[in-house]
């Protein structure tokens, strides 16, 4: 019996030592501009190990006009003496102007309900909107700015470094084909500066004379007339290479510049036609005479040298 009484006394003493749950709440600011936010600080002091819950956890408004915008996580601090403090903040936001009395914060521990003390008031201040002066028309849809490469496909922009050498290679090949077709060669031939027509013809005639003895009549007269044809072509601008003897004679007679040597040219061409096309074999004297006539023709028809206009002092 004595032991039982002592146990009951100890249990009573322990129960008499348990502290109360204290709940405090305060606002950062009692006024709030419409649409802005403010913080509600909540502090709960209780014995360690006490388990409780806030009623706002299940709600997203404190009242009809005041909304809970966010519920950041709380923080627990050891107060020693077997006590602890729980801190929670609520982010509040209101969109309707007016003075609102916030309901007390409720904390339930077991079967007990603890409420914050004095009700808090929050004044929501409206925002001044000058609708007459500050209303702007809707801006049109902005066109994106185009760059020079916007028209190109994405793969080309992405892999231009691989495409460029291929394009250059194809362009080079096409140019080579074009040059080949135009000039008959890719690398253009170096054009030798030609002698004046008379000098060129005389040089060729002297070269023929040097080989005269070794040549057959047909070959000799063919080369002789070829030299004259080229000379006439260059000197008089007559396409003599593609003309027959009679055509050359007719063209030169029309010009009248070769009147003095028309007869000589007629004789050369006539003799040449006989040798080339009739198979006649000329005598050595005939060859010499034809050569001399050809030289005379070139000498007589060569253009006169241009007179010098003055001398240097």
């Amino acid at each position: 019996m004595k032991k039982t009484i002592i146990f009951l006394l100890l249990l009573l003493a322990a129960t008499a030592h348990a502290g109360p749950v204290v709940l405090k709440a305060r606002l950062d600011s009692a006024t709030l501009l419409m649409g802005r936010i403010t913080r509600l600080h909540i502090e709960v002091a209780q014995d360690k190990g006490t388990v409780g819950r806030f009623t706002f956890e299940e709600r997203d408004t404190l009242s009809r006009e005041v909304e809970i915008a966010a519920k950041p996580a709380g923080d627990t601090t050891d107060l020693n003496n077997n006590r602890e403090q729980i801190r929670r903040d609520l982010i509040l936001q209101a969109f309707d102007s007016g003075l609102y009395v916030l309901p007390p914060v409720t904390y339930i521990v077991g079967s007990d309900t603890v409420r914050s003390g004095t009700p808090l008031t929050l004044k929501v201040i409206p925002v001044n909107v000058d609708s007459l002066n500050n209303v702007h028309p809707l801006k049109p849809v902005a066109e994106p700015e185009y760059k020079w490469f916007d028209w190109m496909p994405v793969w080309l922009v992405k892999y231009w470094w691989a495409v460029l050498p291929v394009v250059l290679l194809i362009a080079g090949a096409l140019t080579a084909v074009w040059l080949k077709r135009k000039n008959g060669t890719i690398i253009p031939k170096r054009i030798k500066k030609r002698l004046p027509p008379a000098e060129e013809a005389l040089a060729a005639l002297h070269a023929i004379k040097a080989r005269m003895a070794m040549m057959e009549g047909k070959q000799y007269y063919t080369e002789l007339t070829d030299v004259l044809r080229v000379y006439i072509d260059r000197r008089f601008g007559i396409n003599a290479v593609e003309m027959t003897s009679s055509q050359i004679k007719r063209h030169l007679k029309e010009r009248g510049e070769t009147r003095a040597v028309d007869e000589q040219l007629d004789m050369i061409l006539e003799s040449a036609d006989f040798v080339k096309f009739a198979g006649l074999r000329p005598l050595p004297g005939d060859n010499e005479a034809a050569w001399q006539r050809a030289v005379d023709f070139v000498e007589v028809t060569r253009p006169a040298p241009e007179p010098t206009t003055g001398t240097k002092q």
Partner: protein
Amino acid sequence: MNETVNIRELSDLIASKSNIVSLVKQGMDQTIVGQQHLVESLLIALLANGHVLLEGVPGLAKTLAIKTLASLIDAKFSRIQFTPDLLPADVIGTMIYSIQKERFEVKKGPVFANFILADEINRAPAKVQSALLEAMQERQVTIGEQTFGLDDPFLVLATQNPIEQEGTYPLPEAQVDRFLMKVLIGYPSKTDEAAIIRRNIAAAKPTVNALVKPAELVETRAVVNQVYLDEKIERYIVDIVFATRFPQDYGLNDLQSMIEFGASPRASISLAQAARANAFLHSRAFVIPDDVRNVCHDVLRHRLGLSYEAEASNITADEIINNIIDKIAVP
């Protein structure tokens, strides 16, 4: 100068035979005013043993020319007017039944003559054209089971009207190739036209007498065949003909798209034959490039197949030939 071929002897021979040409030319001048090219072309064809396709509007003395030629050579002349209902038998002849002899007998057609004018040859269907063209080529005709050789000389002058093409049967390329020359005949000059009027309204019409025997003409042809054709001229002819086939090889790239097909080897032969005859007409024993050029258009113009591009651009065969002979170097 010495001679490797006997040109001087040949020249003398040609001079002796050239009187035939002079006689025929003088005789033609009695009835034909102007049309020198037509007369020369007929003579070239006659000497080269070829046939002539003549293109010209009606009334340009085509019939008169060949009739006069036939009269001058004392030869038989036939005129066949080609029409759509003409039959091959109307040209070459047929077998007819003789009641008296109680058997079929050959009735020779108008093709059996020395000179034939095939008037408006493109108005008859292909089978009739073929019958005549085969006779021209083979110089013989088969009727029933008998084959008959045609007379020598045998010259066909076929005409075509260039302005009326409706209802005609254009000659196929293979058959037109059988004509040695295609000659284009134009209107006479004012002076010639006045002379034509004077001659035709005169009371006395000129009479044409036979001046040459057909045998003499055949002999003359043999001389023409002796006219010397140097290998340089052969190469020149070959170059011209090849340029019609492969113009790009002769620096004539522009012509490549204009020519559908070039001249055949028969064109080369014809060009050489006609050039020889032309040399003979000018009393020359050898052919020079001028002879080739003189006959080049007449010999080649009907042997070139023009492309659609050329026809659309109004490019004629003569323009193409001009381009070619202006580009080929003369030997």
